[in-house]
Symmetry: C2
């Protein structure tokens, strides 16, 4: 069987292409890891955000993680149906719902985080510990420049 042509060398050398490939791979690994626990990636993301910021309004949540408010409704419906979050009216502002994680939600995340961490290990497997630190530090600076309003982690 004849081999498949690779993408052109010019393209394969572009950092934006490399970042795209790496990002797609990373996303795939995370999606796969979470599928093992039966949860879509965005649901996980939202649950993490609820745990960190809860109780929190839906609109606030949607802005924090960059999800369309309409799509956030569906995700919260699903998380609520599974007993992982609660949705209660905000006592101080009746326009808002106060979204909070339940103990079941926190347990679910406790189970999932090692899966995601393992996916990250897999993603950076070709790099030594020192190289990973270097890579992540440089990547963080690139991202910080792109998104100056978001604090970085260090």
């Amino acid at each position: 069987m004849v081999d498949k042509l690779p993408a052109p060398a010019r393209i394969r050398a572009l950092p934006s292409w490399l970042l795209g490939r790496a990002a797609a791979h990373g996303r795939g690994l995370v999606r796969e890891a979470l599928a093992g626990d039966g949860m879509p990636m965005l649901h996980h993301l939202v649950l993490i955000a609820v745990r960190e910021y809860g109780p929190v309004a839906q609109a606030e949540l949607a802005r924090a993680v960059g999800i369309d408010p309409k799509d956030m409704v569906a995700i919260l419906n699903s998380l609520q149906a599974d007993g992982l979050v609660t949705r209660t009216p905000d006592p101080h502002d009746r326009r808002k719902n106060a979204i909070a994680a339940t103990p079941a939600g926190e347990r679910r995340l406790a189970r999932q985080e090692p899966l995601v961490d393992a996916a990250m290990d897999d993603l950076l497997a070709p790099l030594s510990a020192t190289e990973r630190a270097t890579f992540t530090a440089l990547l963080t600076r690139v991202v910080a420049a792109a998104d100056p309003d978001t604090p970085t982690v260090s």
Copy 2:
């Protein structure tokens, strides 16, 4: 005006998240740069691939750059209409078209490549020359592990 909450710290520390942000930024920069010359990003990608491999079959092209054959038809229609590629029946295999770049196509790429290079400079602006080399080398290794059948550039 109250500040917007950032994505959760746990998420912002994940290499897959960072890669996703950096990749989106890179894509945005390239798209913007090429829009300056009035060409969508995938059209540019395909034209580069045609220049490198032409004359080449559509299906081969689609596999090389990871574009759906159906979408490749539309892209080639547009490039052909603009006089940037030719589409002729393969004399040895009537199933196939032989796609080749025209001199106008090559000139168009010659104009666009500095734009894309400038976008890459912009993307990696926070890094020194040494850091860029380190970052790209590490990124290349991560991508090589994800896609072992594709040769890397070095």
